[in-house]
Amino acid sequence: MEFLLLLGSPLAGAAVLAVLGARRFAPELNIAFSLVTFLAACALTVHVVSAGTLTFARDQFFIDAFNVFLVTLTALVGLTTAVFSRPYMRVEMEHGRVRAPQLRLYHSMYQLFMTTMLVALTTNNMGLLWVAMEAATLSTVLLVTLYRTGASLEAGWKYFVLCGVGIAQALFGTILLYFAAEHVLGAEGVSALLWTHLNGVKGQLEPKVLSLAFVFLLVGYGTKVGLAPLHNWLPDAHAEGPTPISAVLSGLLLNVALYAVVRCKVLVEGSLHSALPAQMLMGFGLLSVVLAAFFLWRQRDIKRLFAYSSIEHMGIITFAFGMGGAVANFAALLHMTVHSLTKSAIFFTAGHAAQKSGSQLMDHIRGLITLSPTIGWGLMMGSLAILGVPPFGVFASEFLILTTAMREQPWATPILLTALAVAFAAIFGRVQPMVFGETTAKRLPHPPALLPVFLHLSLVLALGLYIPPYLADWYRAAARLIGGG
């Protein structure tokens, strides 16, 4: 029941908003649908916590410890982003950057995107997972080009082509997976692609084929995760689309793609009994962290800056998953959570800041704190949080990851250390003058929605100081599920 609601409400929302998306009350409608989704997710969570893994629709969908918290997170961020986008899009309208048809497109696609995310998370069928991921690309690509500017078109085109090609590789990987599974599970079609079944028999799957499959899957989904050197679409898409979309891309899409990668890794590791997948993940992770850190150094556009920081953090998470083991996996999951919360909060503030000073160029954004202290402090705190300054949650996970790395992979720590230091210098050096100093900001017709920002930040803060036991168990269960190491 909740499950139907979970997938149904955003789908319905997409349909309804496709019609009413440009009305005056459309944003509220958007929020309402997201709220329903969120409530459904919460109810579902309660179920899972009490009853354990659930499956629906003849095992086509399932919810276990691993994806349930991602589902909740997705629903939550979806809701808060909807709340944020209400004043934001209105201001965009007034500035004439968006017109009625685009607004309709925006609202309906937003809900559609949420649907695809949720499907991708909850599906048990690797094929369906692929379909959902592709659908996610398609639903967001038009949102990236919402402003119809040359830059946004270019960004959208790159997003489309690169992710499309990537995802095609993933399809081939899926085919190989199916091929290998068929030999074990027999060709009764459906069940051969069900993750739960595959997981059951992963020991018997043909290692050679699976390793090939993993390469294709990794390159495919890795493109969407934004792992270097496959990351090139990411900064453009983040920078040129409307800010709410940047927020959900960073906060949700990357997570979901990474989720897919990890699901695959579990299977492959199960069959390979070799450290190869782990090493690949670690390699990609480190490469992404380093490249992103140095790219951060040159950024002048606020949203590009934080897009690169997303790449960096995805790199860290991937590295952690690569290291494997209870602690690292736990840390990686925690990092996924806090990163998406923090990063979306940052994008909210960044969006408002850009609107207030009429430019995304950081040189034109100055002294937020004097005109609008809340946004200023929000941006400052958010950036500090994302930079891993305690007592925010990001630090908690980085603490675990770094200490683990120091013992497990000592060779990697100097690299990580350098990258983190460079990233800190780059981001903080940019944020400080934006927040402090003489102001360039001006008032806006609609008061910005700062509830989401501070909700997210306080959640992150809370996670840094105290992780409630049930949440912790939840993470542990997930970490156990992923296993590895």
Partner: protein, 228 residues
Amino acid sequence: MAGVPLDIQLLNLCAALLLLLSFAMLSQRRIVNLVNLLALQGTVLFIATLLIAWRTRQPHLYLSAVLTLALKVMLLPYLLHRLIRRLEVYWDAEPLLNISGTMLIGVLIVVFSFGLAQPISALASTATRNAIGIAVAVVLLSFLTMITRRKAMSQVVGFLSMENGLFFGAMSATYGMPMVVEFGVALDVLVAVLVLGIFFFQIREQFDSLDLHHLESLREDASSRRSE
């Protein structure tokens, strides 16, 4: 190839044709021809699917054969042709790498992908196991096509032929995917093309050209980016 049943021979022939077609694409610079080649590829694919369906007597394969026919042979080429006419893009500019060089690389790729497919086809129980290598080759070749082309249109064609390659791979390795997936994939491809259509018009009205070098302003090495 005595002793091998006819349909298998035919299937292998199809496979060979597919490979040939993708090489043709690699060398082709006229966009209209590219689209025609794509349509041709679709047709071959359709035939191959039919053969496999007939051989394995799996009803859902007939379905997907029909799907292929509808989508890849008729709808997509039609749409693309319309686009071409509406946008007046007939020729691709000089490819980034000259044809002969591309061909050479193509050959290497074929060798590589055969080597790649070895373990898989060794395992495969299907009659079409030898075709797997070709499927991989088609995928990688279309990848190469996308890399070497300058016009958005020809990249799209490359993209679609990659899809074909994947589809053929699925066919020859496992007699196709579960129905759910098949439909999903087909849907996605369709939507993708529609989205592309919208895209092209947007790009046109923005730059009045589909040449990709307009789409190279978002970059890191440029000293300064213009502000929005």
